[in-house]
Symmetry: C2
Subunit: 341 residues, 2 copies
Amino acid sequence: MKRTTIKDVAERAGVSTAAVSYVLNGREGKVSGDTLLKIKEAVAALNYIPDYSARSLAGNRSNLIGVVIPQTEDQKRLLLENPFYSDLICGIESELRQRGYHILISGVDKGQSYLDLTMQRNLDGAVIMGIYQESFYEELKKVEIPIVLIDSYINDDSFKKIRIDDELGGYLATKHLIDNGHTNIGLVTGSIRKDGVVEKRYLGYKRALQEANLFYDHDCVLEGAVSYEFGLEAGKLISSQHKNMTAVFVTSDMMAFGVINGLREEGLQVPKDISVIGFDDISLADIFYPRLTTVHQDIKARGIEAAKHLMDVLARKEDLDTGVVLQPISIIERDTVRKLN
Amino acid sequence: MKRTTIKDVAERAGVSTAAVSYVLNGREGKVSGDTLLKIKEAVAALNYIPDYSARSLAGNRSNLIGVVIPQTEDQKRLLLENPFYSDLICGIESELRQRGYHILISGVDKGQSYLDLTMQRNLDGAVIMGIYQESFYEELKKVEIPIVLIDSYINDDSFKKIRIDDELGGYLATKHLIDNGHTNIGLVTGSIRKDGVVEKRYLGYKRALQEANLFYDHDCVLEGAVSYEFGLEAGKLISSQHKNMTAVFVTSDMMAFGVINGLREEGLQVPKDISVIGFDDISLADIFYPRLTTVHQDIKARGIEAAKHLMDVLARKEDLDTGVVLQPISIIERDTVRKLN
DNA sequence: TTGTAAGCGTTATCAG
DNA sequence: CTGATAACGCTTACAA
């Protein structure tokens, strides 16, 4: 089946390709009402579908937004199994689709630059999730497209950042435990890297402890991978070695599930024997048993927000406003924290 | 930053653009060893990155594979929240990336055709998940690219199908319950549509019942949406109205979680009071409490299989072999089925 | 307001 | 084995 081109449309409407192009791109003001009508008729009659490759090549937008998501350790797979990322993508996609954009999902291999993809596909913009090495961001600056960072505390005016206040979240979670009468509170966390979300949550934990004049015991923090598996391990460890804890703050829901199951495998009940509070409020938090008390953030909303910003910049051709957007968080009380007082 | 083009490479190597193009596309046999070397040097030195838009326009591959996934009822969002689909995508992506392809994820709005996207983006191939109306497949045939169907029982030689034996799965699941001494077995299922996976699973359920000379009671099947929410509802319903059942076969894990939680909310324990077996073995099945006994299928493997087939066809330029690939399934025994005998 | 035509970066045909 | 050169479909000065 031969492709219907802009030329065909122009012919049928009895106008030039330029006129058709104008109409197609919303510059309807550039043509007369009469030709506008004729063109619209022709487009509909011929069921014309523009070729985005050609459009992209001709120097315009590709209508493609790159979405970078973290990968598994071995770099073989995207971390899509983590509902946090799929929710985020869900939000981004739904917003972008309405505006005629598509998303190109990918990971970035270690030590690699994102420039390649950007050039190859002529991306119009990008959303970067996760945390990378300094050099990655340096490279990223060379790309001349608007970029939104999710979950990054990097302080650079080249990027728009959409975040939550992770420190506050860590503080609130810990305080929630303290308010419920817990004084011996452990921490299970992903690896604490400078300026990462995890570090902030950890800092919040420490602040809450300090404020309540509780002793910070470094032996009570278990640091590892942000995964269900590590949580499981940590849960077992806690039950065997740290019997004195009455509560644990876990810096991500997936890990928290692991902790609870690990505890259970060793015969400890949550929240009867030990309380657990998570972070993220992924949809599973409400499905898991016992239902997980956690720090809520609206994940999809973050995706939508990211997409909207990109669209705004792209539409108005303004410079990417370089600020930080903070999305609200709150404690969702469910069934994994026991009141001691 | 000015873009490095194939022309720049040709200039630096002192050859024509054609020669460079040959080398870039693996037809290295078409140039002499000497020029090959010079070209390789130039590509590396200039850090040349091909423009896929131009390549696509010039009539070749776009190196883009479309992936269609079902949407929420309101058509606003992709069903990415369902781990089944994200796992599948994970598999497809990992396989395609290694071959230099990218995936374009999208839904298809009701009554819409997929032709549009295919034309717009010059897709090289597509993977279609979910089940659509007859007319959708009719339209799809007009697209002249290889297409793989996942989860569809449509009988059409234009498409490659990658499936599991859903009827057998339903049979095995039900038989597993029977073998454990259950005789009064309910069914919670998504809506039973002709030739859908759900119908097959339902048929398997009936066959197992029949084979064991058990009475098929239509009142014991609860039909609704394939969602956690409906499962929850069904669980509550079962506890209030169908106390005589000792076991339930639920046609998807996500629903099974709902059923178990619904039962629990009404004070019934799984598997003590009632046994539950699911279908799919999504990763959560092992995280949920109690750990879900279910029909296992390797979801990622299906994604990988789909991707591989597409790559094979695209590479060899052969016709898409139109067969059906059946992936193995098996019962995974965990903690939600109680032995009565 | 309209049309012409020169690119955009690649591939592929077709002579040398 | 190599190198011009004409597509591919679209956008956008620029000219009419």
